[in-house]
């Protein structure tokens, strides 16, 4: 079936099958592989995107349900050439190692700061505990979120 949705401010069309996940559509059909697939079942957060400004795991959303809705992926976070302050903070603090979890964490952090411009440590823990990272040990992710909040 044909689906129409807005992705990073652009209108997109895709031909999808009924069970197709938004993550699959983004990665395989719309040329946006920034959102990562690390589990396909809602357990790791690496596929995080904003759906009508709400943080979701795109692997759990059916593309058919996104018909007519607005999606923002990691590719839509930066302002033109300049990194978004959250992206900049992740790079500067060393919060990126292999970077496979990073797109999901960036989107989740953007969402966190939209609701809580100055989050406490507990709020950071709460908000990002669904985003698994196997490399960094999370310490520098804390640093990144704090830095982005100050910026």
């Amino acid at each position: 079936m044909k689906i129409e949705l807005s992705v990073n401010g652009e209108r997109k069309e895709a031909d999808v099958w009924p069970g197709e996940s938004l993550l699959f559509t983004l990665r395989e059909k719309l040329g946006l592989p920034g959102s990562k697939n690390a589990c396909e079942q809602g357990e790791c957060g690496s596929c995080s995107v904003l759906l009508d400004e709400k943080l979701v795991c795109s692997c759990l959303v059916l593309t058919a349900q996104a018909q007519g809705h607005e999606i923002v992926t990691v590719e839509g976070i930066a302002e033109d050439d300049r990194l978004h302050r959250v992206q900049e903070a992740f790079v500067q603090t060393g919060a990126v190692q292999c970077g496979f979890c990073t797109p999901g964490l960036i989107v989740a952090t953007v969402d966190l700061l939209a609701h809580r411009p100055e989050p406490s440590d507990d709020e950071i823990r709460e908000a990002l505990s669904g985003n698994l990272c196997r490399c960094t040990g999370y310490q520098k992710i804390f640093d990144a979120v704090r830095l982005a909040a100050r910026a």
Binding site: K36, V74, E75, Q87, Q97, F100, L132, C135, Q139
Partner: protein, 751 residues
């Protein structure tokens, strides 16, 4: 002149001898401490690409006409295929090829759950998976061997048992004033890199193959794939530009690569074979579980009289015997040491290297044992370790190339002295305590590894090498090393890596070896280019070579003149200056090792058994530090993996069927940001003066090694309970507390 020499090479603690060719001129090491770029924090060069979601991992690569593979895996731990019917799968929509068990590495006698039996290539991954579900198999189930102790009894072993002894344990026993004996157990742990194992294979004709793969060793994949398909190695190109974590599990090509290559050959199209998370947790390697029966004796002053250990590794169907007894043999000065290591061959998935394989497990046992001994002798645990400090490698009497462990202990003191203060914060429910553990590991790297440096007319430089950056930031470290030698700002250095067709041979990124193996080659290549720049500048500006140097992008003369580098390189227009460098040998007759100590502070809820790690201080000696930002990130990452190993992670098998019960990330608990304690990193940044032109050892593995024992020892300090089995779940903690309360003599400890 090139010189041929025979040298020793070590990866993950396994030594081999080999011939290498080294260049004659040996560079002096730089002075210790932070330099212009080396030793200073530098954010990773490709961080922006990764943060924008623009980095293209193997998982993101789409080739024109690419098909997707799915694998039928054995649902049984041991079985035989009586009959297989792939007819319905072949006719399913989108399917382009089906391979049955007659094609290797597929098998009709799977020896463990998850072993590959059949495979499908289809237009989409969904279609391939659907087709796999349509393959009909009639199984004959066989009785699996799952118990490692039973396997040892039956002599079902992966290899000969490894027996090593120095001195005489019986003599040591006779000289002991105190003896402690205990059994420790560690669990099976899964790597769970965020990018699962995957490869794309594309044939060009029938004798050239390109492999895009998420790997820690481009050249190892090239060699093994070439061998398997009978191709000249240069006909195999291996590409890994961005890589989503490996931790030891991605050191070779793996069945999925061969499946992709076979399906690509059958269809004439590129084929991607990517493991799902469940497959990842079934069959991509693991840190095998261990049973360790250990004994230690000491005189009343704490001098160790003997160490004795029997280690049973549940290796699985394939793999190698991890060096679980290594820490016992290497860490302390003790004359009488005996270890025997068994690798049980079981109907369970093969183990794979996992960040300091063997040493993580063996250090847990050894360092807990030492604390139990300290309690018995009523000696301070830090003091006990100091008294048994070794000044040389007692295994073969070699001196260490460098060892700053006493300095690590000295720096640990203020953290260790917080014991009373931390314990005093205990209340009726929450008991607090402090524990420590030492670390020893390899990490010296070795030859061969090569790099080229290319300087263009614009005065920018490229480091070109066939190494991979598995996420640790080693590419940035290489840029820093080249920048230092060339006197260029680091942002004028490009590092081109990740492709066997575009750069020379480079080290495996395992065994903490990328920086110590690759760094010296990069420095040598940059020095070669720098020498040429100086020679050219001397002619152009009519100066003697010895008065010229490179600094801040300038050619500087000691008589006061300076010229931008581009002025010289620009003369050549499209011409380039090319430098080459290779990794020299490790110091002959010396043992290169890394050392460290970690101090943990914990709180234990004695009613529920909950353990909270509040702080870990990590002090490590890894020689010269290239990038403190990347280094502390490695330390933190290692500690958090260690924390998972200690408290929450465990692959559970159904004891009767051998079926994996923890295939998802819901069932298998890796730490989240909510679990993170305060971490303090302190690196003793003293170059190893005998090791290469750099003096840097590796850091990937050391930080995960002492974490479990430091936490367990802190728990003992807090509660008096001996936790001897990982993971320390609430049940395990409560069991240990119950046991401790039955031994009133120990109760006052830490009360």
């Amino acid at each position: 002149m090139a010189r041929l020499i025979r040298t020793e090479k070590e990866v993950e603690g396994r030594y081999t001898e080999q011939w290498i060719v080294v260049d004659e001129d040996v560079l002096e090491q730089w002075p210790a401490g932070p330099l212009e770029t080396v030793g200073r924090p530098v954010p990773r060069a490709d961080g922006g690409q990764r943060a924008r979601g623009e980095a293209r991992y193997t998982a993101d690569i789409k080739l024109p006409g690419m098909l997707h593979a799915a694998i039928l895996r054995s649902p049984h731990a041991k079985a035989r295929v009586r009959r297989i019917d792939t007819g319905r799968a072949r006719r399913a929509p989108g399917v382009r090829a089906v391979l049955g068990p007659e094609t290797g590495p597929l098998t009709d006698e799977p020896p463990y759950e998850g072993a590959p039996v059949a495979a499908v290539a289809a237009e989409t991954s969904e279609q391939a998976r659907t087709a796999v579900s349509l393959i009909e198999v009639e199984w004959e189930r066989l009785e699996p061997l799952l118990d490692p102790e039973e396997a040892v009894r039956r002599n079902e072993l992966i290899d000969e048992p490894n027996r090593e002894e120095r001195g005489e344990v019986e003599r040591g026993l006779a000289e002991s004033d105190a003896v402690v004996e205990a059994e420790y157990r560690t669990q099976t742990v899964l790597h769970n890199s965020m990018e699962t194992h995957q490869a794309i294979c594309e044939w060009d004709g029938d004798d050239r193959l390109t492999v895009y793969i998420s790997t820690q060793f481009i050249w190892g994949v090239r060699e093994e794939v070439a061998k398997r398909f009978g191709l000249p190695e240069d006909h195999v190109r291996v590409v890994c530009r961005f890589m989503g974590g490996g931790f030891g599990s991605k050191n070779g090509p793996g069945d999925y690569t061969y499946v992709a290559a076979e399906l690509a050959r059958a269809t004439g199209r590129p084929v991607k074979c990517a493991l799902t998370r469940r497959e990842e947790n079934l069959d991509s390697g693991n840190r095998n579980s261990t049973i360790q029966r250990l004994r230690v004796g000491a005189r009343s002053d704490g001098t160790l009289t003997f160490l004795d250990g029997e280690f049973v590794n549940a290796t699985g169907w394939d793999g190698w015997l991890a060096s679980t007894g290594g820490p016992m043999r290497l860490l302390y000065a003790c004359e009488n040491v005996r270890t025997v290591e068994y690798g049980a061959k079981l109907n369970t998935p093969p183990m794979a290297a996992f960040r300091a394989p063997g040493f993580v497990e063996g250090t847990f046992g050894l360092e807990c044992l030492l604390d139990e001994l300290a309690a018995k002798l009523e000696i301070d645990p830090l003091e006990l370790r100091r008294r048994n400090h070794s000044t040389h490698d007692a295994v073969d009497e070699r001196p260490f190339s460098s060892k700053q462990l006493l300095e690590c202990y000295r720096r640990a003191e203020p953290h260790w002295e917080r014991r009373d203060e931390v314990r005093a914060r205990s209340d009726a429910t929450w008991k607090r305590g402090v524990g420590l553990a030492s670390q020893v590991w390899y990490g010296g790297g070795g030859p061969p590894s090569y790099a080229w440096v290319r300087i263009g007319g614009d005065g920018r430089a490229a480091v070109i090498t066939g190494m991979q950056d598995i996420g640790t930031g080693s590419a940035t470290a290489m840029a820093q090393i080249a920048a230092e030698e060339l006197g260029l700002p680091v942002d004028r250095i490009e590092v081109a890596l990740g492709d066997s067709a575009r750069g020379p041979y480079a080290t495996i990124s395992a065994g903490s070896s990328t920086i110590p193996s690759m760094g010296p080659a990069v420095r040598a290549a940059a020095a070669d280019a720098a020498r040429q720049l100086i020679e050219i500048a001397a002619q152009r500006y009519d100066r003697e070579e010895r008065v010229l140097s490179l600094k801040n992008g300038q050619i500087v003369s000691s008589d006061g003149g300076s010229w931008p580098l581009e002025e010289i390189t620009g003369l050549l227009e499209s011409g380039q200056i090319l430098g080459k460098g290779s990794r020299g040998p490790n110091p002959t007759g010396m043992r290169v090792l890394t050392f460290g100590v970690q101090v943990a502070e914990v709180a234990v809820d004695v009613e529920t058994g909950e353990v909270v790690v509040e702080k870990i201080v990590a002090i490590h000696d890894v020689g010269r530090v290239i990038n403190p930002l990347g280094a502390s990130s490695q330390v933190e990452g290692g500690i958090i993996q260690g924390l998972g190993h200690t408290l929450s992670e465990e692959r559970l098998l159904d004891p009767s069927t051998g079926g994996n019960l923890t295939q998802t990330l819901d069932a298998y608990k890796i730490p989240t940001i909510a679990d993170v304690p305060e971490i303090v990193t302190d690196l003793v940044d003293v170059p190893d003066e005998h090791l290469t032109n750099l003096g840097s050892k590796g850091l990937g593995e050391p930080p995960i090694i002492p974490t479990a024992a430091a936490i367990a020892n802190a728990i003992r300090d807090a509660t008096g309970a001996d936790v001897r089995s990982l993971p320390i779940t609430r049940e395990e903690m409560l069991r240990a507390l119950r046991e401790a309360s039955r031994q009133p003599a120990r109760e006052e400890v830490g009360a």
